[in-house]
Symmetry: D2
Subunit: 374 residues, 4 copies
């Protein structure tokens, strides 16, 4: 089978998740090409070599610039810190590589736009890692909505709340500074729910009204000096939404929501039914349908199984459960199929740019106190 050589940059949380998925995907799915863990880049040669051994890559380099121009590499897979995405992606595109990047794509919509335009000019494929949309239960939610089973949509409520910054003793880091993160919770986890709102509903968010808050405005400096520094972006944000199909809704996002670990959740109401989902119980979907005798109506707990999107490749038996990394395996399948089959990838840089524009619009709306078009 034709190989598809992957060059991976960055081996933190997401880099390892990509590596696991790259290894497993060809066994889970019948892929049209074999993704090969070819070249790995880290901040220096030693770390790169060690990580290549750990994660099963054939080659290693301490220089990501060498990776993006390496003639053997077909796809540059960017799992480096967010503030480096732009430079790396532009360099990869310049070298005519397809680019698979983690979210958020960029720190601002201006940066994202530049990346979109470069990719379109070069004609390379792009994919951004909004992996939660690939979970079977969420794909099922989209199917149910698209089929009209719950009627016309009338309300979307979404949130992505976590508590990783809820301890005020946690020092400043890249998350908290404009130059390395752009927006705060809104950019980091909020980007997931914004993308998912459009993915699920099939409608575009056309206008937003936002409110942001930095709950812990000063945190210890990371140098251990005992000094304090300023948090430059939001700890929590919320927005009202207007969609172009007439739907209204709202989103919330937080990095200080005590108790929430993987708090991506949505409730979607239609004229004939409703859907409720919570990523902390990622293998189930609650479905209500306004039909049948009233005394027998209730939210049904659908456990994902082989009748649902992409589940059967993991197990022929229902209810056995998918995990976080399985979502990445599905993402890899889409990446390989899209590149080999020259098909559109979703969400590509253009979609991710939309997310940046929504974030910008929410921030601007907050500042201006008015509805803002996306």
């Amino acid at each position: 089978m034709q190989p598809l050589n992957i060059g991976l940059i960055g081996t933190g949380f997401m880099g390892k998740a990509h590596a696991i998925a790259l290894k497993a995907a060809p066994t889970v799915f019948n892929l049209p090409a074999m993704p090969v863990c070819d070249l790995l880049a880290e901040v220096d040669d030693d770390l790169a070599a060690r990580k290549a051994r750990e994660l099963g890559f054939a080659r290693a380099t301490g220089d990501w610039k060498a990776l993006v121009t390496d003639p053997q590499v077909d796809v540059v897979d960017i799992c480096a810190p967010n503030f480096l995405h732009k430079e790396m992606a532009l360099a990869a595109i310049a070298a005519d590589k397809h680019v698979y990047a983690e979210k958020p794509l960029a720190l601002s919509s201006a940066d994202a736009q530049e990346m979109v335009e470069a990719a379109e000019r070069a004609g390379v494929k792009t994919l951004v890692g909004f992996n939660y949309i690939r979970n079977s239960a969420t794909q099922l939610a989209r199917e149910i909505i698209a089929s009209g089973e719950i009627g016309e949509l009338i309300h979307f409520r979404g949130r992505h709340n976590e508590d990783y910054m809820s301890d005020p003793a946690r020092p400043l880091d890249w998350h908290t500074q404009r130059v390395t993160a752009g927006a705060g919770a809104l950019g980091d986890v909020g980007s997931h729910i914004l993308n998912m709102a459009e993915y699920l509903t099939g409608q575009r968010i056309s206008e937003v009204f936002g409110q942001l808050q930095t709950v812990i405005p000063r945190r210890p400096l990371p140098d251990g000096s005992g000094g304090m520094g300023e948090v430059e972006n939001d700890d929590q944000a919320q927005a009202l939404l207007r969609f172009d199909g007439g739907l209204i809704g709202n989103i919330e996002t937080s990095r200080v929501a005590t108790g929430r670990k993987m708090g991506l959740a949505y409730t979607i109401t239609g004229t004939k039914g409703s859907i409720i989902f919570d990523q902390e119980r990622m293998s189930e979907l609650q479905l209500y349908k306004q039909e049948g005798p009233e005394g027998r109506r209730g939210f049904s707990m659908l456990l994902v199984g082989p009748e649902h999107p992409d589940y059967a490749a993991f197990s022929p038996a229902p209810g056995h459960g998918l995990g976080y990394n399985d979502q990445k395996i599905i993402e890899i399948r889409d990446l390989v199929e899209g590149i080999v089959g020259n098909k559109p990838l979703y969400p590509d840089f253009h979609e991710a740019w939309r997310v940046n524009r929504m974030i910008d619009a929410i921030e601007l709306s907050h500042a201006e106190g008015t509805w803002m078009k996306v």
Copy 2:
């Protein structure tokens, strides 16, 4: 024991609930006076007589004006349709009666203000039936918050969604018209969550940004003619909130939220913990506290029991469950104690007027597209 004679106007859903609670309250609680089901008013003498028999009232009248001036009546209990609240309450106050009225107090804040001023001038006691705040689990939530157990509050999310108008074939009725209902879902069920937001947090909502929508703009005329008429108020509404203590939050409300029957719920996040509550599971409260080893932290499901507010009067055994009408029994206890002990009642007309002002502010904000002070 001293009697406290109740004159009840209206015997629909709420009238019956009041009657049940009036009968049970003296046995559940040790009351300082005996509430007596004395006089009942309905739209005509026959119905009044029949309902008095059914609900256990001593006397009946087809003329509510006779009730409010009846010398034997101590408290006028208004369970008539919302658009009659104002006239009835003003008449009762003019006759120097204490007034116990169902929510919403009035169709507009101007009306509510007039009622507040009349009551204050007359020096009568008033109480408005926002009964959900009396549920043990919700009282417990307030206690936990007030004690600082979950730290400083940083986010409030509340909703009260139901689906009683989700069938588009349901005709126009009093709910849907301005002159009989004022606001739609926002006034009817939304009023509960607005009051509760302040009750729970101990903070005042100072500014709102609202969005309203009439999902089903035309419905069959109630005359069965087959003609259609216009729905004049909101089917669903949502708002971002600023509280005077710095807290932010949001609320949602709907009467077309398919699948939601008693969808009052809240999630309150503090710097040291969080609370989650859902009225459909009214006897439990989820509590997360950011303490102890990380591997043992999780939301605890507290089932209400005799350690929690007002539960022990119903049962000495934990987890046995309170129901909707039990909330009204607690409300009656508060009514009787407040009147006999000449203590402040909560929520009185003044508090209910606040709710009207919040509703007005949300509507105005929607129209203007800007934050609106309450």
Copy 3:
């Protein structure tokens, strides 16, 4: 309306619950007679007088023997300690009174049999307070089963676990001694699930295989002397069951099940569907039906509402929630209707005797190590 005079003996947990329900029932339901809280008996005159005031009874006595023969009393309502049930019931029957007694009816099946025979000879009505079977959700479960909606029953799993004796420092009391309690957890809470198993399935338990255990064999003496005494009955018990219709199943019961407060629960499997219920969430029933497309099958959470048995009398609005005492209100309705209409009452002494026989069979099976016929 015709009065039905109630003479209540005992004012602990259950006595108060009966009083609350007696007060509320005529307003909740249209009863064919008016239950009157007429005479109350306690251990001495002073306590009786005080409790009569608190619970709203017209008359009081310190001598229960006077109550059972009082000519004005129509129904003797026995809420005294279990070991007194037999003597009181026999005296009441001898005085030709109807008898409404709390469960368990008697400490042994021999005693229960004597009571059944006396009642049948006298032709009085009897009712035993297995109140959980009157909850709307459980009545709904029975309806669903009886209608064949879930096919032929193939498995019953039931439990009633609580933790009221889980603290080993809790002294010996009436629960722990043979002469005052008979069986332990099995008699106290286990009796509920045994009765319910037959109520729900419409089948008789024909054979049992039991296992009992006293987890905390010695407890402090109640005299505070610091001495220890022997616990004489089971802290936990379990049994396999054979029903006369071919169904098999099992039950568990405990008074030391740490964390369980109102742990009555059942899972009933049929050939075409299943039902799951948990009394800690008493207003909901989970229903699975093996029909429709596989990808849309799941347990539906049915919130009780006016379409379900007896709910509408409490509230016309769905999902508003019933509580523990509401079950007793339904029980009072059944008592009054049965007596006035001269209809069979369920569960009467005969049914309660069955429960005693099941308990005896489980204990005997435990001792013998073999299946035991009931």
Copy 4:
């Protein structure tokens, strides 16, 4: 790194799951050797070749006997139908291979004993695929129990119910016949909960009292002739248990439990707390501890995270969720570490033999109607 060559026999549900895990494990964990997907056997050469391509094996054979004696193969991984386990394992052991076999190990305890003795004589390592014990939440449950956090264990309730045979139109197949399956639900899914009972509690099941039932005694013949044939083993089974540490408990198992897809669940009660787990929500564990103020006690929902066993290798972020195949990845880690480090493997053939003995004892107890020692 040293390779560990795997020879896989059988490529159904479990064969694919093994292959996925073999591919992913070296990236998830730092393994002391590299498991290599070397040789795959299927029923004929063509299928073997195709499956080797799909699942990523280097070589293929249509003859499993060639695989077990292949000099390059280090570990024979048996995922063939259960009735072939014995012959294959004995052949592999005879060839001095380590054996990794799916459960149930054998169709009878006599067969299992023969396999155990052969493996012990040969000194090869064995591992049986009771994968659910490797789930982080279940490992956590074991840790909590072993540490004494919930005190001394007093009750174990376990079940493994599914509904894969609930449709009576499903024909006879290998599951239903003695010669291919041995016991029915009890052997297939029941074996998991029996093993898990001992794994979790750290106690041995010493005596059982069993009850089995074939709910659908006749099914269509698989030849499509329209004829019916006899089901030879149990559709559902239940047993009371005595453990050697004094603990009592019960288990249930079914293949006709309508609505249950992955219905492995347990409730374990100790003197100081309780644990509840349900594999359909495999990433959470409910924990109750009898400590702290009574009004703050409740079951805590612990979402698995990096503080819990083996989770951190999959993700550094809490609550992100493990899936079914992740359990197999952990199993592979244990296999490799055990073989390379010459450490005991759990559960090995000896443990699996215990499961067979428990199954035999339950069946015999059912036949005899008495407690049976394991």
